[in-house]
Amino acid sequence: MADTLSAPPTTTAAGPATRRGGSRRFAVRRVRKRLTHLLLVLLAVTFLSFVVVDLLPGDAAVVVAGDNATPEQVQQVREELQLDRPVLVRYVDWLGGVVTGDLGRSFRTGQPVVEALAQRIPVTFEITIIAQLLALLVAVPLAVYSAYRPGGLVDRTSMTIGFGAAAMPTFVFGMVLIVLFAGGVSSILPATGYTSFFEDPVENIRSIILPCLTLMIAEAAVYRQLLRSDMVSTLQEDFILMARSKGLGPARILFRHALRPSSFSLITLSGVNIGRLLGGTVIVETLFAIPGLGQLIVQAVFNRDYMILQGALLFVAVAYVVINMLIDLLYLALDPRVRRDA
């Protein structure tokens, strides 16, 4: 899926300014191109996953029928799930369903896949987005200050803690948090479970604090490091010198002049991370028993629940491409020079 990733735009020397209408047309063209891309990527991803999943050792019918099943019982389940038909026929069938909005039903529970996704996506989305925001909230000020005073106390301390945090496996950090806040040292937060925001906002916040902290720590460390080094090089550019010689204060220079052009790598990476985390928060979700998308995918793999797996992968692929498309458009907003590219 490398071709769906937005590479940070290369900026060329400033040319004549484009008209506003031109930039809108350009954005539209870009979106259209991306959408065509999206379709191809989705076809490739879903077909590949369908085939690969089919090649996985382990028979879905056996899993659904259970360990106590007789061969006749397994055979009946296989026929009910239509697993006796060739994989290509099943794929075309499934694709036909997707076009009409029907993603099929779970092999195990019979739950419609669309319903399962609708239950899981908001949960993972909430955790992912909040963890990302927290990570940025921590990383950006630290990075800006570290770039402003490289080698200073803030820079060195945040780098050290950051390396430590990034080197520690997520689940270890999660367990440390459980010991500290949920049953070991203190018992102020729930160790497991998830409450919907619409059901009980306070419980919702309480239930996502530990998972979000677990997720954000390594991200924050990487973001700080990335933004800091980009910022350090930006601060050496002529326009900063210019701003400084005009007598602007450090805060204005750092946040108004330096941050924007330094944030391309950061935005690219956080976009990729959101896409990745949507399907990849499984460790955190399992540890804290949170019913998110990552858990759904892993459970589906273990249970050979192909329909759930296909639906979830389809969503992750769509989300990945869409997020990267949004980031692509964000470049246009952030840096006028990009609008003339391509």
Binding site: N68, A116, T286
Partner: protein, 536 residues
């Protein structure tokens, strides 16, 4: 990147703090495990309801399950801890391995086990208001007969005819005498139960989707199921037992990870957890703020020998393997010193167990094992083998490998994920030795499934005509003495044959906060929730 001395000191400091936290977390578990000796049975069938005082009404009980519900449809294979709350059960298992009426009024045979008359309680209705009558039982039983994949199909299949004698009486005629037929109406859903009755009106309305919209006559009615998140049940106001249930509702949450499941009960996130492993039971038994319910049960954790493949088709090699396993070492390294060892099919407190069977079981004796292996080698056999198991049993695999190396056998280890293990190893009989956990409440059908030629969990294809005949006799007879004797002989014979390598009982437990009262359970953990109440 080069770190300056000062920075690296900070790194070391941070690392040290992290390590200290980790060690602290592990240390707690170690301290809890200092006590010696096997875990003791504790209230295996639930609490003493009379001694726990007058039940207080109200409250919602939060329960953590070790696996998610698959379906509420009794014809679908799964172990659903919430199903008995929605349906109740026509019969209920007793500690001596029989069944007594529960939701049903009586179940009697008139002719030594071929014809059975089931009488229902008058006035019992499903939560949708329709009556639980003879017709409802017939409709539900017919579903098990028609659905080949139903876990209860093999039992239902034996019914040749059934009819409603009157609105509250069903007469079943079987293809032959079947003294244990009532057990099938009371056993856990995992083994296939005919005793979980779904409202025929709901079946009509939801069809195949009944598994997600259950309607029964149990103490609680179904409210909501968000898979992998929670299942919510609400008090059934028209429940047949006067004044019950005491609780306003139940909420089941899947907590598949053993560590976090235990953290949840310790932290108070849930009121009850269903434990599956030694480690959580050991920790809970040391915690004064938790109450445990545990009975070792029959069978337990054991190894399957494959009787179709060398080297374990040879009794000498089976004995060699059992004699070379040092259970004390296993207990110390993997069971916190609290292994409940198993040397027989049935647990010690079972009426079907005899001390003779345990006495005849091979003891740890590596010298004898070496001798047997030498003998086997001399006869041209190759004693080396491959041990196949799931990814969660890696430490056990390594233990086995080390123990066998000590007696000169080279063991290859192969680990699989659960789905692959089920289909490519167990169901396809492609192994020499593998491991399993299964505890059963009643000798029927547990022992038959495990040991009868063609039994559906007899994965090693053990076959002894004498054992088959005894198992058939025990299931057929209505005479308790004949039955007991037959099972005692079965236990003795499979011990002599070394049909499986028993090594540990299972650790299926119910762990609760102390304020949870009125627990009513099977050793295999299935619960009845009408009597449960919260003392808060």
């Amino acid at each position: 990147m080069r770190l300056r001395p000062r920075t690296s000191r900070i790194v070391a400091g941070v690392a040290l703090v992290c390590c200290a936290l980790l060690v602290g977390a592990c240390g707690a578990a170690d301290r809890a495990a200092v006590a010696e000796g096997a875990l003791q049975e504790r209230d295996p069938y639930g609490g003493d309801l009379a001694a726990e005082g007058a039940p207080k009404p109200g409250g919602t009980l939060l329960l953590g399950m070790d696996r998610e519900i698959v379906s509420f449809d009794p014809t679908v294979q799964n172990s659903n801890m919430a199903a008995p709350a929605v349906y109740d059960s026509l019969m209920k298992l007793t500690p001596d391995g029989k069944a007594e009426p529960y939701l049903a009024q009586s179940m009697e045979t008139t002719d030594g086990g071929t014809t059975w008359v089931l009488t229902l309680r008058p006035g019992v209705t499903f939560s949708d208001g329709t009556p639980l009558d003879a017709n409802a039982v017939i409709v539900n039983t017919q579903r098990h007969i028609d659905t080949v994949s139903s876990p209860a199909h093999p039992f239902a299949e034996r019914i040749t005819s059934m009819r409603a004698v009157d609105p509250l009486t069903v007469e079943f005629v079987l293809d032959g005498p079947f003294g244990d037929f009532p057990v099938v109406f009371g056993q856990p859903i995992t083994y296939g139960s005919l005793g979980l009755i779904v409202s025929p009106a709901a079946l009509q309305q939801y069809g195949d989707d009944i598994g997600r919209h259950p309607v029964g006559a149990g103490p609680f009615t179904f409210t909501e199921w968000v898979p992998d998140s929670r299942t919510v049940l609400t008090k059934n106001p028209s429940y047949w037992q006067e004044g019950m249930p005491y609780l306003d509702g139940l909420e089941f949450r899947p907590l598949p990870d053993t560590e976090t499941r235990y953290a949840s009960i310790e932290n108070g996130d849930v009121d009850v957890v269903f434990g599956g492993y030694n480690q959580e039971l050991v920790r809970a038994s040391q915690n004064p703020n938790l109450r445990i319910y545990y009975g070792p049960g029959n069978a337990g954790e054991y190894l399957y020998f494959n009787f179709n493949k060398a080297p374990f088709d040879d009794r000498r090699m089976r004995e060699a393997l059992i004699s070379s396993l040092d259970l004390n070492a296993l207990a110390a390294s993997q069971y916190s010193g609290r292994l409940v060892s198993a040397t027989s099919l049935f647990t010690e407190s079972s009426p079907y167990h005899t001390a003779a069977a345990s006495d005849a079981w091979p003891r740890y004796d590596p010298e004898r094992a070496r001798g047997l292996i030498e003998e086997y080698r001399a006869g041209g056999g190759d004693p080396d083998f491959t041990f196949k198991t799931t990814q969660t049993r890696v430490p056990f695999g390594e233990f086995l490998q080390a123990q066998m190396a000590a007696v000169g056998i080279d063991v290859q280890l192969q680990f699989y994920d659960l789905a692959q293990y089920s289909s490519s190893v167990v169901q396809s009989n492609d192994f020499q030795l593998t491991t399993w956990i299964s505890a059963f409440d009643t000798p029927f059908p547990g022992a038959s499934r495990l040991l009868h030629s063609g039994g559906n969990t007899n994965y090693g294809k053990y076959s002894n005509p004498q054992v088959d005949a005894l198992l058939d006799e025990a299931a057929t007879t209505s005479d308790p003495a004949v039955r007991t004797n037959a099972y005692q002989q079965v236990e003795w014979l499979v011990g002599q044959d070394l049909a499986m390598a028993w090594f540990s009982r299972s650790y299926l437990s119910t762990i609760t906060k102390p304020e949870v009262k009125g627990i009513d359970r099977y050793v295999s953990r299935d619960m009845f929730y009408a009597t449960t109440w919260l003392d808060r």
